[in-house]
């Protein structure tokens, strides 16, 4: 069930809100029970059989937590639990990747396993691994199965994050009051609509300028450089508006129930260094990789070489987390390399010239580096990534030439405009989306969102208030988004 589907918006969500409101009249605990049931229905609606796997994962990790209460066996049980979680994730996500790699290396005929990747497995597995590791480190064991289940299964973050931490979720479920619900519901609804608009109107309409070009290079074709640059710029913006839109929707939905999720994006394309980029992009994943991979590997405690090695390894594994393929590994490796260079630059106290030119140069270099890395993230094959890079530099390749169908799809409504006009419109759309990403405050800033036990986001020049003007703006955004919802384009991060 997609957040941007009619079933979710007009059936599941109203039913859950009404049931939650009714249950909360009885007690906060009843409200939490309703959220657990709704979350399991939400997950089961995809493939009921995988609900069993999900419940098994939650049950086993909860039991492992209880078994870790005795200090003498805490580490042994913890390590077994982490290994078990990684094994399940490895089987579903990486078995075929390993088989194909072994086949490529050895030439041996190995069978392809017919495995369907359970929705959100990367997210719910990592959240539970973090829980087990924290208990190993001495955190309190959760003894309430309902709260633990909701921490893992809460439907706004279940499928594609934000990656939540048990210490920021479970205490919220145990509060006697769930905040000023009318205010939070209004703020949550506004954030949800903003996210829906970003996903359905901006991201889904940009997809048409990226998908055909990448499909073409993936089958061995080549692109004129103007189409290649349009494709990668469109994808750069599509993935940002898609994923950050999803995260905004998740935050808004959770807020409607009085629950605060962590912020996942803070205008990443405004970053003027790669270090800053990773503090703004998929923040909850960066936090997880830092706390549960980079620091346990030694972080920056064992000298510069070891620090850079740890950075590279963290980013390589971060790349592999996104998908079982060498293109994702290279994407992670590139970002690891960028980070190493960025840290070197900083360690040697080098600085860009002060003033607007220096800031613009720093931004441009960072942005181009991120854009080039997205080539590997988006291409289905290494050859496709190579062909796209060659096309970006204007090099001729042997593949077939690209011929656009010249059809513009406005909210999936096709209009024949011709190849030249489509290219111009594409560049215009990409420029407009980039302007939105760079010039407007992000959604958490605009809505003065506050994470659990944190100060509100810093104030931008645009601040939401429950006024008529904002009501009209959100009504327009929702109305336009509803027309875009007939496209039924999946969220890009569902595949991870």
């Amino acid at each position: 069930m997609l957040f941007s589907s009619f079933t979710f918006l007009f059936q599941f969500l109203p039913a859950t809100i009404l049931a939650f409101a009714a249950a909360r009249l009885h007690s906060p605990r009843a409200g939490i029970m309703v959220l657990v049931m709704a979350s399991l229905v939400f997950y089961g609606a995809w493939r009921p059989v995988y609900l069993l796997l999900f419940l098994g994962s939650v049950g086993v990790n909860f039991a492992l937590g209880l078994a870790m209460e005795k200090p003498e066996r805490r580490r042994a049980v913890g390590y077994c639990g982490v290994a078990l979680n990684l094994s399940v994730l490895g089987f579903f996500k990486y078995a075929n990747f390993l088989i194909e790699t072994a086949h490529d290396v050895s030439g041996a005929a190995l069978p392809h396993l017919d495995i369907v990747l359970p929705l959100g497995i990367s997210f719910f597995t990592f959240q539970q691994i973090a829980y087990l590791v924290d208990v190993m480190r001495g955190a309190k064991v959760e003894r309430d199965i309902v709260s633990f289940t909701l921490f893992v299964s809460f439907f706004p973050h279940l499928i594609a994050g934000p990656l939540v931490h048990h210490a920021e979720m479970i205490p919220q479920f145990k509060r006697e009051r769930l905040g000023r619900s009318a205010w939070l519901a209004a703020q949550g609804w506004a954030i949800f609509v903003a996210g829906l608009f970003k996903k359905v109107v901006i991201a889904d309409n940009l997809a048409q300028f990226a998908n055909p070009s990448f499909a073409h290079v993936d089958i061995g074709g080549s692109l004129p450089s103007e189409w290649a640059w349009l494709a990668i710029l469109a994808y750069t913006l599509q993935i940002y508006f898609d994923f950050s839109g999803y995260s905004d929707m998740a935050i808004g939905l959770a807020l409607m129930f009085g629950i605060r999720l962590p912020v996942n994006f803070r205008s990443p394309y405004k970053a003027r260094s790669i270090i800053e980029f990773w503090r703004r992009w998929h923040i909850t994943l960066s936090r997880f990789l830092r706390d549960y991979l980079y620091i346990p590997l030694g972080g920056n405690r064992f000298g510069i070489v070891r620090r850079y090695f740890n950075l590279m390894l963290t980013m390589l594994l971060g790349g592999l987390w996104h998908g079982a393929g060498w293109t994702f590994v290279i994407w992670g490796g590139l970002h690891g390399l960028y980070l190493v260079v960025n840290h070197q630059w900083r360690d040697h106290k080098r600085r860009w010239p002060d003033g607007a030119v220096g800031r613009a140069a720093a931004w441009a270099l960072t942005f181009i580096a991120v854009v080039i890395a997205w080539v590997f993230f988006r291409a289905r094959t290494m050859a496709g990534a190579g062909a796209m890079l060659a096309s970006l530099t204007g090099l001729k390749t042997t593949g077939g030439a690209f011929v656009s169908d010249g059809i513009l799809r406005v909210m999936d409504l096709p209009v024949l405009v011709g190849e030249g006009s489509l290219l111009l419109i594409g560049w215009g759309a990409a420029a407009a989306a980039l302007a939105v990403a760079l010039l407007l405050p992000n959604v958490p800033e605009t809505f003065r969102y506050r994470e659990y036990r944190r100060a509100p986001e810093r104030r931008g020049f645009l601040v939401w208030r429950p006024t008529f003007g904002w009501a009209l703006a959100l009504a327009l955004a929702l109305a336009v988004s509803l027309f875009g919802m007939w496209q039924r384009v999946e969220f890009l991060y569902f595949q991870f």
């Binding site: 519901a185 409504l413 929702l478 007939w486």
Partner: protein, 320 residues
Amino acid sequence: MRYQMRAVLGTRRWLVLTLVLSVVVWLIALAGLLSLARHVHDDVPVLLAKKLPLLKTHPSLIFAGDSRTEYQVDPVLAAELTGRRPGDVVNIAYQAGEPLALLAAVHREPDVFRDAHMVVSVSPFIFNEGVRSAAVYPQDVAARLSVGQQMTSFLPLRVGTAIRFIREAFASRLAAEENIADRGPAPPALGLVRLERVEPEDSWPATIGAHGHYANWDLSGPKARFEIGALCDMVQLTGKLTVVIPPWAPRYNRASDPTWRERDDTYVKLIEDAGSRCGFEVIDLPSIPELVQSDYADEMHVTAKGVPIYTRALVARLKQ
């Protein structure tokens, strides 16, 4: 405390205001889109346009209409049975096909149809105003309704029909501008599509009287008016026009289903009256004895096994 209470009430009012405004803005936007869709709509839908390349051979026998021709009439066998050469008989029927679209195709290529015998299958949903579901509502009828009529007909429960009309309108305009009726490849098997899979038992309706095609029975609306008008208009533009009313699966018994019998009689009478008034032939096939229950994929379509049986029975009636 008083300030807090005021803030909460204000926020609640704001939420309600936002939802109300959303509905208003959405309705205005829908009206605008419907108006635009009426403007860009082309009466030849994509599904029919994709079949029109079959007409390049100037066939003398053209089977057309809805899915009960698309899935059931084999043009190769029909050519053999009528002593025509292969390619001289084609099947341009498509799902939920309507006479208005055929009339548009006839106007588009008048020479092709002038001397041809056109055999058009029809189904109750094309004429019954009570059927408003998105999947089968005739798009060319929707295009002839004003925006106000469209909104009052389809909102709120049949909003999907309005949305489908908008999408199909843009798709039909694109098909027209890309000229796929001339430039596209001819579909395989001269237009016949075979159904291989039999629907599971629980998806078969209990009775035909309660079938969606006969729901809210009303033959007095714009559907019947426009579609009957299209059939009448085609008489002068084709060599010969025959309208076929195909049978339902034999497990259903008209005699024990008074609702079906009564509604079907009025529907058949509507077609037959129009036939005698406008001059087209009507072939009513309430049953075909050779077709048995196991030949049916669902309540109204035969499987690939039933195609030759249906084709033979239909051609035999055409020859009479």
